[in-house]
C-alpha cells in the first residue's frame, strides 16, 4: 500500500501497476476526509461505510459548501458497462463512491421514466451507460438508447432541469479506467451543480 499521504489526485491502483500517471481522473477530495482514497484491501472496512454514503448527508437545504455529496444512480448494461465497472473494481481503480449501480441487461431497456423516478426519489444525477454503438450484445439496443435518452436530455433541459444531471456514456467491458473517469467527472460536475431540488418528491407529511 503506498500511503504517501498526498492528495489523491490520481487514483490509486493497488498492486502498483506503475503507470499511475495515466490514471489521472480528477480530484478525489471528498469533503475533508480522504474517503476517496479507498483503502481497499486495508483493514479499515469500517471506513468504507463513511465513504459510501451520506457524508454531509443529502438533507436538501442544510448543505454546507464543500460537504455536499451528490447521489448518482447508474443504470449500467450487463454486458459492457457493468462488466467495465467491475473491471475498475478488480483493478483497484479509485473512483468516487457516489454512484449506486442498477444493472440492466441492455441500456436500451432504460425507460425515461426510470430516470425521472430516480430524480424524484432524490438522485442528484443519473448515469446511463451501455455498450459502444455497434457493439451492443443485443445488436441494436444502444441505438435506441441513443435516440430516446438524448431526447430526454433535451426535454429535461427545456423544462429547467439541468441536462448536466443526466449523462449517457458508452463504456465497454474492457474500459475500467474510462468508467472510473466517467464517474469521477460526473461526480465533480454534480458537486458544482449542487443538490437536485426541482423534482424531488416530498417524503413524509411535508
Amino acid at each position: 500500500m503506498s500511503m504517501d499521504g498526498k492528495d489523491t489526485k490520481a487514483p490509486r491502483s493497488q498492486g502498483d501497476r506503475g503507470d499511475a500517471e495515466n490514471q489521472e481522473v480528477g480530484s478525489q477530495e471528498v469533503g475533508s476526509q480522504e474517503v476517496g482514497s479507498q483503502e481497499v484491501g486495508s483493514q479499515e472496512v469500517g471506513s468504507q461505510e463513511v465513504g459510501s454514503q451520506e457524508v454531509g448527508s443529502q438533507e436538501v437545504g442544510s448543505q454546507e459548501v464543500g460537504e455536499f455529496e451528490p447521489k448518482i444512480i447508474g443504470f449500467l448494461c450487463n454486458w459492457c458497462s457493468y462488466t467495465g465497472a467491475d473491471l475498475a473494481g478488480t483493478s483497484r481503480i479509485q473512483y468516487p463512491p457516489n454512484i449506486r449501480v442498477i444493472k440492466v441487461m441492455c441500456s436500451g431497456r432504460v425507460n425515461p421514466q426510470f430516470v425521472m423516478k430516480a430524480f424524484q426519489e432524490g438522485a442528484d444525477g443519473v448515469l446511463v451507460s451501455g455498450c459502444h454503438p455497434g457493439d451492443c450484445h443485443y445488436i441494436e439496443g444502444n441505438f435506441h438508447t441513443r435516440r430516446k435518452l438524448t431526447m430526454l436530455r433535451d426535454q429535461l433541459e427545456f423544462m429547467g432541469i439541468e441536462a448536466e444531471r443526466f449523462q449517457i456514456s458508452w463504456v465497454s467491458a474492457s474500459e475500467g479506467i474510462k468508467f472510473a473517469e466517467v464517474v469521477s467527472n460526473f461526480t465533480d460536475r454534480l458537486r458544482d451543480l449542487g443538490p437536485q431540488t426541482q423534482l424531488v418528491k416530498r417524503g413524509g407529511a411535508r
Binding site: E121, K201, G203, G204, A205
Partner: protein
C-alpha cells in the same frame, strides 16, 4: 345596518384584516384562483373578473390534503393526524354568490353521514365575503351563468357572512351573520354608513344582473323525469364526444369526490387525499378489474344523476349552483343545460313507458 367601502380602499382591506389569513382571487398569468395574499407581496385581489377558474372549494377541501403522517417504528406503522393543520381566522374575499351557495351544499356533503373534520376545521375558520354580480363590463353574469334557475341569484346571500355589491364608487358592505359582524368591526376604519340610496342602488344593480341571465336549467322535477330514463338511449348521444378529461367535475364547486392514497418512502410517509373525478375511467374500477362504468356514457350519466337526482332525493340539496364553469371549459361543449333539456324531452317521449323502462332498468341492474 349596511355600510359602504370606497373602491380605492379595497386594496387596504387585506392590510386592515391583520388577525386574519386573507384569501382572494389572484391572477396567475391570467388564470384566477383563490390564493392567500401575502402581507408583503404586491399581488393583490383581482377586481373586474367574472369568476375564478378553480372553484373556492379548494380553500376548504384542497386538491391535495395530507390526512395522516405515517411513521414506521419497530416494524409497526403509526399514523398521526397531521399536526400543522391551519388554525386561526381566515377570510375569503370576493366569492361569487354561486360559489358561496356551493359551500352550503358542501357542508351537507361532508357531514351527512360522517363528519369530515378536515373539511370542517377549514370551513369553520373562514369568514366568507361575497361579491355580488352586477353585470358590469368584465363582470358576471356571463353567457353560461344560470344561478337563478337552481335556487341562487346574482345577489344571493346564501353561504355568505358578508356581501359586497358594486355600486359605482363604492361597494355596499352588508354583514349577514355574527362572523360577518365581527369582520365588519375589524374593518370599521374603512367603512362608513350607507344610506337608503346606496341600498337601493345595490338592489337595482342585482336586479339588472338577474335580467341578464338568459339560460335556464330545467331543475324543477329533475328527480321525476330522470327516474324513468336511466337506460334510455339518450345518454349515448352527447357522451360520444366526451373526452373523459374530468374538467367539468374538477372545476365544479360542488363536486367533492376524492381518492385516498398512502405515499411512503423508506419508513415515513403520508396518507393524503386528492380530488378524483367520476369521469376518469378507473374511478370506480373494482379490485377484480371489473369496471361498472366502462363507457363515457355511463360516467356522464352518473354525473347528471348525482347532481340532479341522487343528491336531491337523498340529501335534499341540488348539486348544481349554476356557475357555468363546466359549460365554458368543456373542450367539446357538452353543455349541462342542454343535456338536461334533452333528458327532459327524452323523458317526456318515453312518457307512458316510464314505469316499464324503470322496471326493465331495475331488472337489468339486478341481472348484471
Amino acid at each position: 345596518m349596511a355600510k359602504i367601502l370606497n373602491k380605492e380602499d379595497l386594496d387596504r382591506l387585506p392590510g386592515v384584516l391583520s388577525g386574519y389569513d386573507v384569501y382572494a382571487p389572484v391572477s396567475h398569468d391570467g388564470v384566477l384562483r383563490f390564493c392567500r395574499l401575502e402581507e408583503d407581496s404586491d399581488q393583490g385581489m383581482e377586481t373586474g373578473f367574472t369568476n375564478t377558474h378553480k372553484p373556492p372549494k379548494d380553500l376548504f377541501f384542497p386538491q391535495t390534503e395530507v390526512m395522516l403522517e405515517l411513521k414506521r417504528e419497530d416494524h409497526k406503522w403509526t399514523g398521526t393526524q397531521e399536526t400543522a393543520r391551519p388554525t386561526g381566522k381566515a377570510v375569503a374575499l370576493g366569492m361569487r354568490p354561486c360559489d358561496a351557495q356551493s359551500l352550503n351544499i358542501l357542508d351537507v356533503l361532508f357531514t351527512w353521514d360522517y363528519v369530515d373534520n378536515y373539511y370542517i376545521n377549514n370551513r369553520n375558520r373562514f369568514t366568507i365575503v361575497g361579491l355580488a354580480c352586477t353585470g358590469g363590463d368584465k363582470e358576471p353574469p356571463t353567457a353560461s351563468c344560470f344561478c337563478t334557475s337552481v335556487g341562487g341569484g346574482p345577489g344571493s346571500k346564501e353561504g355568505l357572512d358578508v356581501i359586497m355589491t358594486d355600486i359605482g364608487n363604492h361597494y355596499l358592505f352588508e354583514a349577514l351573520t355574527d362572523k360577518g359582524r365581527d369582520l365588519e368591526a375589524a374593518t370599521a376604519e374603512l367603512l362608513s354608513q350607507a344610506d337608503d340610496g346606496h341600498v337601493q342602488q345595490a338592489k337595482e344593480a342585482v336586479e339588472a344582473a338577474e335580467k341578464k341571465i338568459s339560460r335556464k336549467m330545467p331543475a324543477e322535477g329533475s328527480v321525476e323525469y330522470l327516474d324513468g330514463i336511466f337506460d334510455h338511449d339518450y345518454w349515448e348521444g352527447f357522451a360520444q364526444r366526451c373526452l373523459g378529461c374530468g374538467i367539468c367535475t374538477l372545476l365544479c364547486p360542488t363536486c367533492h369526490c376524492f381518492d385516498i392514497n398512502d405515499v411512503v418512502k423508506l419508513g415515513e410517509g403520508r396518507r393524503e387525499r386528492t380530488w378524483d373525478s367520476c369521469q376518469f375511467e378507473y374511478y370506480s374500477i373494482h379490485a377484480s378489474g371489473h369496471n361498472p362504468r366502462p363507457a363515457k356514457k355511463h360516467r356522464q350519466r352518473n354525473r347528471i344523476y348525482h347532481k340532479f337526482h341522487y343528491m336531491v332525493k337523498n340529501l335534499d340539496v341540488l348539486g348544481c349552483v349554476g356557475c357555468g364553469r363546466c359549460i365554458e371549459k368543456c373542450p367539446v361543449n357538452i353543455d349541462i343545460i342542454e343535456v338536461m333539456q334533452g333528458a327532459k324531452e327524452a323523458a317526456k317521449e318515453a312518457g307512458k313507458e316510464v314505469e316499464k323502462e324503470a322496471g326493465k332498468g331495475e331488472a337489468k341492474e339486478a341481472g348484471k
